[in-house]
Structures are given as structure tokens and as C-alpha cells.
């Protein structure tokens, strides 16, 4: 089970790359969602046990996957969604003020 981890790393790096190099504000926010998704995937992955069942114990199961990372993943999803929403609201505001989505135009604050 190494491939999923590699995928997580690729997604994470891709997200970071998007954030630091793309000029479009919406692209940057998309980058953040990619990073966040990769982290959630990582959480689910580390909780997974081969041939385990979901942590809903209506019967007695042999192997049950770790419930804690799933709970953490839920929290992370919610937090990520909220942060994305705030970011997008700010993006809209910025577009109204500056008339552009280019990061390089946000230069009223400097020095």
C-alpha cells in the first residue's frame, strides 16, 4: 500500500505548486482544496486496515478500521469547507474592488 501515499504526496505538492505559482485567485483557492483533499485522503489512509470493516459495530467484527482518523477527517472537511467559503467570499470582494482576479494586481499594500 505505497501507491496511495505517493498519490497523497503528489496531490499535496501539486496543490502547493498551484498556490505558489498560479496567478489566478480562483486557481489558488482550488490549489488549497486539492491540498486539503490530499490531507483528508491521508487521514483515511492511515486509519485503514487491510480487509477491515467500517467502524459501525452492529455486530462483532474481526478487524475494524481505526475510527479516530475518520472523525478527524470529518472535522477537517468541515473546517476546509468553511475556510474555502471565506476565501471565495474575499475573492469576490476583491474582484469587485480591483476588477481583476490576477494576484499581481493586489498591490495596494506594500513596503
Amino acid at each position: 500500500m505505497v501507491i496511495p501515499y505517493v498519490v497523497v504526496i503528489i496531490l499535496f505538492s501539486l496543490g502547493i505548486y498551484t498556490v505558489i505559482s498560479k496567478k489566478n485567485l480562483i486557481k489558488m483557492v482550488i490549489g488549497f482544496t486539492i491540498v486539503e483533499s490530499s490531507l483528508i485522503l491521508l487521514l483515511i489512509l492511515i486509519g485503514y486496515k487491510p480487509s477491515g470493516t467500517a467502524p459501525i459495530l452492529d455486530r462483532q467484527y474481526e478487524i475494524v478500521v481505526d475510527p479516530i482518523p475518520q472523525a478527524l477527517a470529518l472535522t477537517t472537511i468541515i473546517i476546509g469547507g468553511s475556510v474555502t467559503a471565506v476565501m471565495l467570499a474575499l475573492v469576490i470582494k476583491i474582484y469587485k474592488r480591483y476588477g481583476t482576479l490576477n494576484v499581481d494586481e493586489l498591490r495596494k499594500l506594500r513596503g
Binding site: Y5, F12, A54, L57, P67, L72, I79, A85, A89, K93
Partner: protein
């Protein structure tokens, strides 16, 4: 000259990201080399004792609303914060939307699906401790109702049916209710947000009224999250 500069910058960025990826690969490689199967006694405890201790079959719910309920309070606060920010950025009075006329099928489907959504959401909330779902997911499903209303009928209609102030009130009541339910633990002589430890009568495992306070906490979080996301959506769409 500037072109070369651009290239160099791009190269720099890519090099940085590749270096980051390499470091993370090293981490994964190192972790892979470790034998860390024995270190999950916390989750093993949850799995073996969790149902007995909390009364909830869905262990994720029992972690979210009992063992680590404090986290849930925190993330509920995050949603509330986001909702507060969005309603701050968009003043209440401006309620116009870029209108698009849909065909009659859309309106009918919306009308038709709203009861289903409501039932689904309530089911997810109330059976959160028994099956997948729970306050968060159910709340989000509930929040889709006003969103659908807004999309098909426009903001004015949606907000005349569900006033923003009401939603805000519901959200705050949800948050306060969560804390008050948590304080019940203190009242009964245990700790804050105590549930399994405070003996609220876990009931018969697998029944609807069981697992102590977890269903009620689920309800609180459900209405809170639902109202919060609806506020977030409406604020975003009202933004001129």
C-alpha cells in the same frame, strides 16, 4: 532579460515543490520501514470498549460526540465564524440575484425533493449514532433545502420563507445548546461534555433513544451546521 527571469522563477518554484515532494517521500519511506502496528491501543480501546462505554454503534460518532466532543465544539465554532464573516462581508439588505429562468420541470422537481431532503437530513441526524451520518452530514443535507429554494426561486423567495435572522438564531441556538448539553455533564457532577462517563443512561445499544446525550448533541450540531451553511451560501450568492 525578463523572459529569462520568468523562466528562472518558474524553475525555482518547480524545484521547490519537487524538493518538498522528495522530503515527504522520505517520510513515507521511513514510516514504511517502521513497524508501527502495535501502537494503536487508543483505537483498539475505542473499538473494543467504545460501544459499551458510549452506547453508540457508529464509532465515528462516538469519537466525535463523546471522546473528542471538544473538537466538535471547536469546528462548530469554525462554521459559525465563517458564517459570521460572510454575513459581515455582505450587508443584509442587498438581496438580488442574477436571475435565470428554469423550465417547469426544475420547479416541480425542487418542490418534490424538498420533503425528501428534509426527511433524509432528519434521518441522518437522528440515526447518527447508529449508522453513517450524524449531525454534520445531516445538517448539510438540511442546508441544501434553502439552497435549492434560492437557486430555483431566487433569493427573495428563499429569504421570505426562511428569514436570515431566523437562520442566524437557529445557528446560535444550536451552538448554545451544544454547550448547555455539555454543561449537563458538569451539573451531574462529572466533567464538561461528559456523556458516557456521566451515566445518562446509555440505553439499549442499537435503539434510537440510546447513547446518552449523543442524539441530542447530533441535533444541535445538525441545526447549527445546516443554518450556518445556508447563511454562508446565501451571503455568497447575495454578493453583488
Amino acid at each position: 532579460m525578463s523572459k529569462i527571469n520568468e523562466r528562472l522563477k518558474k524553475l525555482h518554484t518547480i524545484a521547490l515543490v519537487v524538493a518538498l515532494a522528495v522530503f515527504l517521500l522520505v517520510v513515507v519511506y521511513e514510516i514504511h520501514n517502521l513497524d508501527n502496528n502495535s501502537k494503536r491501543y487508543l483505537s483498539e480501546h475505542y473499538i473494543s470498549e467504545g460501544v459499551r462505554e458510549t452506547g453508540a454503534i457508529n464509532l465515528v460518532t462516538s469519537v466525535l460526540y463523546d471522546y473528542r466532543a471538544f473538537d466538535t465544539l471547536g469546528e462548530a465554532t469554525v462554521i459559525l465564524t465563517a458564517a459570521a464573516i460572510l454575513s459581515l462581508l455582505v450587508p443584509v439588505s442587498k438581496a438580488t440575484m442574477l436571475g435565470t429562468k428554469f423550465s417547469i420541470i426544475v420547479y416541480q422537481t425542487t418542490k418534490f425533493s424538498i420533503p425528501f431532503l428534509a426527511v433524509l437530513g432528519v434521518h441522518l441526524i437522528f440515526f447518527g449514532h447508529l449508522s453513517p451520518g450524524g449531525g454534520f452530514v445531516g445538517g448539510v443535507v438540511l442546508s441544501i433545502i434553502p439552497i435549492l429554494l434560492t437557486i430555483t426561486y431566487g433569493v427573495e423567495f428563499s429569504e421570505s420563507k426562511l428569514k436570515p435572522a431566523k437562520k442566524k438564531l437557529v445557528e446560535d441556538i444550536g451552538a448554545i445548546g451544544f454547550i448547555l448539553l455539555g454543561l449537563l455533564g458538569v451539573v451531574t457532577g462529572s466533567n464538561f461534555l461528559a456523556n458516557g462517563q456521566a451515566n445518562f443512561g446509555p440505553g439499549n445499544t442499537g435503539e434510537l433513544i440510546s447513547a446518552g446525550l449523543i442524539p441530542y448533541l447530533n441535533v444541535m450540531i445538525g441545526i447549527k451546521v445546516g443554518a450556518g451553511l445556508a447563511i454562508i451560501f446565501n451571503s455568497l450568492i447575495k454578493e453583488k
